[in-house]
Symmetry: C2
Subunit: 404 residues, 2 copies
């Protein structure tokens, strides 16, 4: 069974049964394919008797989005499993454990997290995650610091850059996030009600310059090994636990891109909550919680990244040059704000929308949410290079909310 082919459920059961010491021998395994079928097969294998279970994720050699299909390298399965293994070492317990990786089958066998909920859905349901800012800031600080030139020998880091060259998946980001939303493209998905706002995006030349600069950094700035797709749909969570999944977009890029993804997706939920929570006080309260989470995510990341730097920095120059650390962190904040803006905008007018807003059934409420998200996103992009504090980003959010 070594040559690549998409597995059947029966084959998946056979492979799962052959993992030594996981399931009791002779266990009657049950298998259900639970993937969305666009990029990967995902098999959920369970043994009712022992209560044990695992997940098998197999990459498909194509991507299917809105009916179209384009080829996609199976190498992303290697990138995903290698990233997960590395992340688990750097940020223990914050990603699923990998039990086995089969390169021929592009198959990763890993911990089952079905006692967790995808955080995006949890937020839509109004669930709060009091540990999230703490956990995600630890995840980012640890994985980003220890793969950067600050925390990893510079020559080893270059070999890592080589290992995680990821052209196919980067191409998706380059097109869908940094290009399509600002031009007329068949990939865009714009509701007629906000066509005027989408047209304004295409006309805002100052915005285009900021996006071009952020895109240039995405293309050239090999700062650290990113997760690369760190939205709330890539997080399995409970109020007590956070697990980051799906790092198939991992590559060496600008640190702010991961931080920005987290912030953006909290704010997309912020915009969408205008519909999901009907009571005004409750809405204000939940939005307050989301804003606080944005602030905490940055603040805790900033503290933890600096602490790692001060304790584990391997780079004499970076460690001893007065002013360098402050300048470095302020540039990360600027990048995070800029990328957060880009990631919000693309989720409103680009190809792939988010359930926080897209599933709002009332079209007027959906339009309000989209306009609020766009206002926040574009304002953050305009702010990015001028930002000196996370409070400026929060002002942008509150100002936009007050107008809508």
């Amino acid at each position: 069974m070594s040559a690549y082919h998409p597995l059947t459920e029966q084959e998946a059961i056979a492979i799962a049964g052959s993992i030594e010491g996981f399931f009791p021998s002779g266990a009657a395994l049950n298998c259900r394919e639970i993937g969305d079928g666009n990029l990967n097969l995902v098999f959920h294998i369970t043994d009712a008797a022992s209560g044990k279970s695992l997940i098998m994720k197999q990459a498909l050699p194509y991507a299917k989005v809105v009916g179209e299909s384009w080829p996609l390298s199976l190498d992303r399965a290697r990138i995903e499993s290698e990233s997960l293994i590395l992340q688990n070492k750097l940020a223990p317990g914050l990603v699923p454990a990998v039990y086995k990786y089969d390169p021929e089958l592009a198959l990763t066998i890993m911990e089952d997290l079905s006692d967790h909920l995808i955080m995006r859905q949890g937020l839509i349901n109004g669930i709060r995650y009091p540990k999230f800012a703490e956990d995600i800031s630890t995840f980012m600080a640890n994985t980003l610091f220890f793969t950067s030139d600050l925390g990893l020998n510079q020559q080893e880091k270059k070999l890592r850059v080589k290992e995680f060259i990821n052209p196919d998946l980067c191409k998706i980001t380059e097109d869908l996030i940094f290009d399509d939303p600002y031009t007329v493209s068949a990939n865009n998905n714009i509701e007629p009600a906000i066509e005027d706002a989408a047209a304004a995006l295409r006309e805002d030349k100052a915005l285009h310059l900021e996006v071009a600069l952020l895109r240039e950094k995405f293309l050239t700035n090999a700062q650290a090994l990113l997760h690369g797709d760190l939205h709330t749909g890539s997080v399995f969570a409970t109020p007590e636990s956070t697990k980051v999944i799906d790092p198939e977009f991992a590559y060496y890029g600008p640190i702010g891109f991961d931080i920005g993804a987290v912030i953006a997706n909290l704010l997309l939920n912020y915009a969408g909550q205008g519909h999901w929570i009907k009571d005004e006080n409750e809405l204000a309260d939940f939005r307050g919680y989301l804003v606080e989470t944005v602030r905490d995510t940055w603040t805790k990341f900033d503290q933890k990244f600096r602490a790692l730097w001060n304790e584990h920095g391997v780079d004499r120059i970076a460690n001893t040059t007065p002013g360098y650390q402050d300048l470095y962190m302020s540039r990360l904040l600027q990048d995070a704000i800029g990328y957060a803006g880009c990631k919000i905008v693309r989720r409103v007018v680009g190809l792939a929308h988010v359930a926080d807003i897209a599933t709002i059934p009332d079209s007027a409420a959906r339009e309000r949410a989209q306009r609020l998200a766009l206002e926040i996103g574009t304002s953050l992009i305009h702010l990015n290079r001028r930002a000196t504090s996370i409070e400026q980003a929060i002002d942008v959010i509150l100002t936009a909310e007050a107008k809508h």
Copy 2:
């Protein structure tokens, strides 16, 4: 003869004779090893009868500098030959032609340029190179543009980044250029007469911050495939011809690093000429020529790079975003000025000096040259992020010269 070992002259002759169609059959080949023996063997193979000749360069598995020796990957021979072949395609005639590359022997067989003189020696001798600014700006514009995201498909570029990961040689630059000169290091080579100036380098905290930022870009900014060591000792020249050699430091880095190397080495000669040319008018005249060459190198590079961009740009965003090209070019200028400064400083207090200054026999004259070079170098570093025009760099040079 396929397993790696350093070749003897007899083996070199046998290999040269076996290249089909180059030397007449049965030619009585002569061989002379002309390398400095520190990093490579260089065999000059000639046939007196036909007048034909070639160069065979073989990488040694170690670097020998001031008596010490450390291991160095033979992979640099692959990087050098692949770079030369690519550069010859992008900037035809401006590098030696490669006849053959043998990966097992880490051996590149290439065009003999012994009718040219190493440009550093030519400048010391007071020779002018009226075609140099034109040629080197073409070399840089073509090789840098067409390997960047501006002139090469972004996904192909990522594969190139991978191909040219070059940890060993980058390490040399990271240490000798960006680290040692600003601290107490056994690698430094400081003449007692300028110990006060070297101490000032170690105390200048604002300078350290600028150097740390330039070093960070060297570590992370994969803008284009650099030559990586583009000083006047890497240029074979006649007044009519320019040939760039020795790209074993090639890797994906910041474009300004190559431009800065050219400018730095013109200015090291500028500082040294205070000794070599005795007549004051002649000195002023030659220095004027060098300054003009600095100005022309940048100005012509700027023009040619923009022209390539406007005609051959493959990137929609970069091509159509108002203000982006101007901002991009102004950042290249800033980087070039900063790197020029770093490269001047290291040639005065770091491990490897340049003949333009180091071979000045009179110690007082040598000290004057070193102090002038340091003043220019540090001033350029301080200027870099504030620079908006090459004229500011030239003011720095003229101001420093007037003081010394």
